[in-house]
Every structure is written in structure tokens, then in C-alpha cells.
């Protein structure tokens, strides 16, 4: 593994694994103080963290990836099917917060639909809208930029220009805005878990809050903060990788 990647991982620890570990330790201490099994409590918190991560990360990555491509496509003339998808996502973005989609998903599950795909869709769609909204203006700007005129003047073909100039330019703001999308997705995940009675961190937090238990909610909150940091780090690592692949790669 390259040294920079290791260093980057170490840099992110205070904001990622440390809060999660602290949350687990607190859960253990609280359970131990009231005479319950501390180990079970800590294990429960970690399991909930893993569940929420599995719920959020794939939806977020898939949503942001597809949204970014659709948004970039929408910035490309002439109008095409993919472009219209991007436009639709951009227009629908503010209409579709994750928690509202979670409620719709809950409604569908009550009438017999499968929970997992709906939960993922409820989290992926807002991420896609957000990514499309960021990618489209960046793509349009790249297509009218001085750099594009330079590439034309230097005789590069459209494919090279699109791959090495326009696409990286369109994806850059999406990876930059990944942290915001991750926060929205965590809020949406809390609604999904709470409404569908799924065993995630959000449900843990809200259940503890409902009964007014600080000692129950605090570990969950710390783990959620760590999870937010983890997703942010994931986003920046992904951004770096994408930049290497699209910008610098052959």
C-alpha cells in the first residue's frame, strides 16, 4: 500500500474510528455501571454502526456516481436521454429529501414490498439529485473553458478531451460535495431505520431519545459522528482515486 494512503488513513482516524471506539467504550461503561454486560452493549453498538454503514455507503456511492454521470451528461449538448435524466434529477432534488422518501418506503413496505431495495433507493435518490446538481454546471463550464479551446487548438480528439478534461471537471465538485451528501444520507438513514424498525445507529439514537436516556443516546451519537467522518474520508479517497483514473490515467 502506498505510504501516502497509509498516512491519509492515519490522518482521518481522530474523526472516524476514534469516535466510534469512544462510543463503544461509553456503551460498555454505561452498561457495566448499571450491572449489565458491557461487552454485549459495546458489541450491539458496533453491530448497529456496521448496519448503518452498510445501509448508507452503497446507496450513497451508487447514487452519487450515477447522479454525477447523469448530471455531466445533462451538461453535454445536444440533449439526449441521459441528459434528460440528469435534468430531471436536478429539478427533483429539493423535492425529495431522504426522510420523505423513507416515509414513502415505509408506506410501501407496510403494503408488502421488500424493505432493503426500497431503503437503499430512498437514500440513493437524494444523493443522485445532489450529485447531478453539482456536476451539470461544472460540465457546462468545462465545455466553454479556455482549457477546452486549448485542447481543440492542440488538435486533441473529442474522446480525449471528454475523458481527461470535461469529466474530471464535472466530477470534482461531486467529490467535494460528498461530505454534505453523506450528512443528508445519515439523516435519511435515521428516518429509514426508525420507520422500518431496522437495527441501525439512527434507530438506536432515536429510541434512546424517546425515553429520554442520555446514557443510551450519547454512544450512538458519537458513533454517528464517527460514521460521518468515515464517509467523508471515503469520499475524499474516492475523489483522489477518480482523479487519478480520469485525470492522470492513461
Amino acid at each position: 500500500m502506498p505510504r501516502t494512503a497509509v498516512r491519509r488513513l492515519i490522518d482521518t482516524l481522530p474523526a472516524t474510528l476514534l469516535p466510534i471506539a469512544a462510543g463503544a467504550a461509553l456503551a460498555w461503561a454505561v452498561a457495566w455501571a448499571v450491572g449489565l454486560s458491557g461487552l454485549d452493549a459495546a458489541r450491539g453498538l458496533l453491530a448497529a454502526t456496521a448496519f448503518t454503514l452498510l445501509l448508507v455507503a452503497p446507496a450513497l456511492l451508487l447514487g452519487a456516481g450515477l447522479g454525477a454521470l447523469a448530471g455531466a451528461w445533462a451538461g453535454l449538448p445536444p440533449h439526449s436521454g441521459g441528459g434528460w435524466t440528469g435534468r430531471a434529477l436536478i429539478a427533483a432534488g429539493p423535492l425529495l429529501p431522504g426522510f420523505l422518501l423513507a416515509a414513502l418506503a415505509a408506506l410501501a413496505v407496510r403494503s408488502g414490498a421488500a424493505a432493503a431495495p426500497l431503503a437503499w433507493a430512498a437514500l440513493a435518490l437524494p444523493a443522485a439529485c445532489h450529485a447531478a446538481r453539482l456536476a451539470r454546471p461544472a460540465m457546462s463550464a468545462a465545455l466553454t473553458s479556455d482549457a477546452l479551446r486549448m485542447a481543440e487548438g492542440l488538435g486533441l480528439d473529442d474522446r480525449t478531451v471528454l475523458r481527461h478534461l470535461a469529466l474530471p471537471a464535472a466530477l470534482a465538485p461531486v467529490t467535494g460535495g460528498f461530505a454534505n451528501a453523506a450528512l443528508s444520507a445519515l439523516a435519511g438513514a435515521t428516518a429509514v431505520e426508525s420507520l422500518l424498525d431496522l437495527p441501525g445507529l439512527g434507530a438506536l439514537l432515536i429510541d434512546a431519545a424517546r425515553v429520554g436516556s442520555l446514557s443510551g443516546s450519547l454512544p450512538a451519537l458519537m458513533a454517528l459522528c464517527g460514521l460521518a467522518g468515515l464517509l467523508r474520508a471515503l469520499g475524499s479517497a474516492l475523489g483522489g482515486w477518480l482523479q487519478r483514473v480520469t485525470g492522470a490515467g492513461r
Partner: protein, 560 residues
Amino acid sequence: MTPPTHAATAPSPHTAAAPVSTQALTLLAGDRVLIDRADLRLDAGQVLSLTGGAGTGKTLLLRALAGLPLPGVTLAGQARTDGRRLLIAQGGRLAPQRPLALQAADVIGHHLGLDASAALRRMADALDRMGVPPAARRFDLPPERLPDSLRWAALFALGIAVGPAVLLADAPAAGLDPTVRLRLLHRLAEWARSSATALILAGRPEDGLDGPADARLCLHEGRVLPTPPIPDPLPAPDHAHHPAGAAVMTAHGLTMSFPMGTGPTGEARRLTAVHSLDLELVDGETLVLLGESGSGKAMLARALLHLPAPSTGRVVWMGRDLTKADDATLRRVRRDVQPLFPDPAGSLDPAMTVGAQLTAVLESLRPDIPADRRPQRVVETLRAVGLPTDTATRWPASLRPLEAARVGLARALMPDPRALVCDEPLATLSAEDRAEFWDDLLTARDRRHLSLILTTERAEEGLRHADRALVLLMGRVVERGSADDLLHHARHPYTQAMLSAARGDRPALEGDPPSALRQPDGCTLRQRCPKARSFCAQAVPTLEPVGPGHAVACHYWDTP
């Protein structure tokens, strides 16, 4: 319809197939004629400069020659280029994130079919021709992290590496210091001549593209015409009015420095932009401060006005020490000494009309003028700088650059000052506007008997209008003397290089100015200087007199 144009042909010694030729090339945007029946012919190894103001169609003409699409423009007539052609587009931007080496490999590989390592070897040879030292070649970095001068040098090298039959450069090296720009352009032109490439350098008249060129054309009202020989557009310096009055402003030990955080060992670091500098302004004289960008001339100008106050040292105006001045005294001094800013439009409050801003100056600096007489004063001053009186009711956003510059001048003249400190007051103006604004400024100076301090990077232009000059290099004065002495007998290699660049010649300096954060020991010019020897690294040269009123800070000014 316009009468037939004559063939604006670059001189062609032989009639073999020229790499570039056009016949009655006409470009139309809707019903507007951008280029009217241009006949161009350029031979192999010929360098042509094509100048014109903003919006005269230079970019479109180059795109037409490069065979690129012209959205919204109709092309009539013929444009023919033979062989491989390359256009270095305006702005000099490449894909911002992708390392330069890979982009070079893309372009060279695309044209010559070479693999990456062969392409990069070619690029390295080309960089040698552009004079980029191997140590400076950080081409694993993306272009946006390279200094502008290196980015342009790399772009030219890319052109050289591909080796086209026709190389078109749109506003090449625009925005660089004249010394750096002219060095790069001369190197590119030399290469074009030696490798039989037809090179067109297109840009604004003030960019100095005529210097490296063999043939000179200009775009005027849609026509391509031979550039008229420069009839010395600037009036000769008026040395009859050479003042010998008393000093009105003096500065002693003026230093400007800024905190730059803490270093690796925890010590506080400071960036020093002006090093303990002395200056004297005589009543009625025009003192010009010359220097490249980063020389500290703008900082010095601001420090003289206490905007902000210098870090150490003092400024004295007519016996009043500004360092010790209270608010009332400072206001009294501000009434006498007014600034002009490098971006006149940006120095106007966008939320106030022009008239309101001028009135506000009177209100605070001239309380002796009764309120009912203020509007009259505003109107008079606007007229004096050549603006219609209804300018007072306009918002700054609606002003054109020349108008904004004039409003800036009017504002400075409002309190009836005795001196103006002008920081690159013409930086945002086009060539024609510059001439007009020089007129305004000099008229105001002569009518009102103003003392002027003027900073500029255009050495020749500045010296022609000045009585005396200070040449600044990285915050230190390296040459001081009368404008006449400097114009004709400049001693410092740096001054000589700036004057060469201003005249379109190749400056003798190599390489780029060092970063202000990593200044070399000893003389800061030594890494670029043709006269540098080992001793230059050991001591910062001090000013030594070389003639009456003429002093130079160079260890080897007297060696050839």
C-alpha cells in the same frame, strides 16, 4: 459597402507555396463584418505579429486559420494552411488536474505517434530550447499548480516538440511580466526561424508582440493593415519643467512586512515586501517607481499613504510625521495626498452613485466648502477630467474602464490635493484608453502643479513622463536617478532588461523572479543576471553613486 481593401500582405521573398495564405477571407457574425477580405501570406520561418484591441476578431481569425469551428460566425473567401498546424489558445490553460507530463505525452503522441517516453524526451529537448532549467521542471504537477511563467514556457515547448508547419499563438504569455514575456517570445520566434515554422503571434498592441516579429500587421475596423511604425506616441519628457523645489514628502527606513505563521521550529515568520527604504518627493516633480510584479512598488505606494501604515519607518508630509499623526492631522494630510488605484472600477463603492462618492470626499476632507457648493464642485471636477456632468448620477457598474479611471482621478482631485500617489493607474486600460488617460493625468498635474508618485511595470512609458525614478527589486531600490539618465544610461542589469522588454527587444535576464518566500542570499537578481559572479551571493549590494543624482546597487555595474 466598404471599398476594396488592398492586399495586406506580409513581405514574401519567394513565391513557393506559403504555409499560410488567405484570399479575401471574410468573417461575419450575423450582419456584422468582423474581418473584411483579409489577404494574408506567411512563409516558412517567418514570424508575424497580428495586433488589435479587444473584440477586433483576432481569436476568430486564428481559429479560422487553424480550421476550427467558429460557432455563430460565417466564413467567406479562402483560408489555406499547409502542413501540421497548432493553435495555442488564449489564456494558456490546459486540463487543470492532469499532470503536465501526461498532457504533453497526449499531444505529442497524437501528432507524431510517439510513445510516452519518446514524447517526453522530445518535450525535454523543447524545454531546453525555451531555456527552462531542469531543476524547474516540475511536470509531475498539474498545470494549475505551476507558476504562470513556467506554464507558458511549457506550452511553447509543447508547440516546439510537435514541430508544426504553422504555429498560431493567441495572446501568448499575456499577463506575465514584460521581461519574462519578451524572453519567452524571443526564444519561440528564434526557434520558428531556425526550424522553418510559420509563427503568428496575435495579441493586443500593448503586449509587445511586434518586437520578436519579422512582419507586423494590425487589425483595424475589420481590416488587416500593416502596423504603422510607432511614431513615438508619447510626448518627449518635459525637462523644462524639471522642479528643484523643496522636498514635500520624505520616507525613512520604510519597511513593510507581514506575519506568515510559524516556521517548522516554531519561530514566527514574516514576509518582508519592502526593506528599509528611503524616498524623497520634491514639490511638483513626478517620481516613478519601476519594478516587476512582486517588487514591492504597490506596497510602498500604500505605505506612503498609510493604507496601511508601514511596519517600521516613518513618512513625513510637509513636516507632519504620519506615524505620530492623530485623526485630524491624518485627515489634513489625506486632503493633500490622494491615491489612484490599479483597478479604478473596483475602487468605487458599487452601492453609491459617482456623485455621492465624490461629495463624500468633500464632506470629510473639505469641511470648509459649504454643503450647497458641493454639487457645483463635483460637476466642475467631472468636467475637468473629461467626463459629462450626468456621470454624477451613474452607478459604478455602468462605467467603462476609461470612465472609471477618470472618475477615480476626479475623486482624487476633489479635495484639491498637492500630490497624487498612483499605483499602476492604467493597468486595466486598453492601448487607446491609456493614451487618453495619460493625457488627463498629465494635464491635471500641470494645471494644478501636482507632485506625482507613479508605480508601473512599463519602464519606458513611466520614464518618459517622469522627472526621477526609483527602480525596485524585491523590496529594495537597485537604481535611482533622473528619468533621462535611466532612459539613456541605465546601469543596473535589471533596469536595462525592463527597458529592453519595453522596446520589444530580448531582455538579458534568464529565468523567473524568485518567490518572495524563498529569496536568494546576497543580490536577489543573481540567479537571472548575466553579470552575476560568486561574490553576488555573499552580500546584498548597496546603492553607490555613479553620476550626479544617479546611484546603482550592483557589485559589477561597471563591468561589460
